[in-house]
Symmetry: C2
DNA sequence: CCATCGACTTCTACAAAGTAGAACAAATGG
DNA sequence: CCATTTGTTCTACTTTGTAGAAGTCGATGG
């Protein structure tokens, strides 16, 4: 279908995290969500690097908020998945689904 | 959960292709299966590079067959997913499933 | 007020995964 | 023999992924 660019696996995970978090989607929180959901304890640098790349590709946008009045409550950078990002994610997930189709889950560990 | 190594997205696709192909799983055929299923027209070098990596990681094994009596029927290198590979694949797919959980598919393009 | 703490983001450096396509190998058909 | 077909290997490079130290900037406590 598309010819150029495919999402890596971690990019997909990060996009999914952004979608789940909605208005709460900022770097540290994204990392936490991934850890809670998948048990994967990724380095924070990995998250931001991926977020930056997704932004450069035009899949997400970001804006910096006002600081909040709490201890350490500095300004956060919030991310949002835009239409192109949803499209790319849907396509990637579709590819995997196609490859899985018809395979009984019997290949999972016995 | 696991701490070291995660499968990339293309690695997952290749593993799934091997599982679908069973006894027919050799390089060129893998490429064809992926093209047919996902529309992704990957370079043959990409497939072999990935296959080699999967073998080095101990996720698949390969053996070279006898040539067959057809035009161009040279010996093929057949691949098989072993238990470790199934485990890794199941884990990777599980991570994605966890991230997807509860997200209505409404994020797909409208 | 200033030292420190806590929540966040940036930076630097490197390893692993993915991409491309030309080169090479071996079998067959004419 | 040699052109053709099916397959695999090689070389070179780009993109993703990983790690953790460093830097920012409010708030808090003395």
């Amino acid at each position: 279908m598309a010819k150029g660019e495919y999402l890596g696996e971690f990019e997909q995970i990060v996009l999914l995290a952004l979608l789940r978090l909605g208005a709460e989607a900022y770097g540290l929180r994204v990392r936490q969500e991934i850890a809670e959901r998948t048990g994967r304890d990724v380095a924070i640098g990995a998250v931001y690097a991926t977020l930056d790349r997704l932004e450069n590709k035009g899949y997400v946008t970001s804006r910096v908020s006002e600081p909040t009045p709490e201890r350490g409550g500095r300004a956060k950078r919030y991310f949002e998945v835009i239409a192109e990002g949803r499209r790319a994610l849907a396509e990637a997930q579709h590819s995997l689904a196609q490859m899985r189709e018809g395979l009984t889950e019997s290949w999972r560990m016995s």
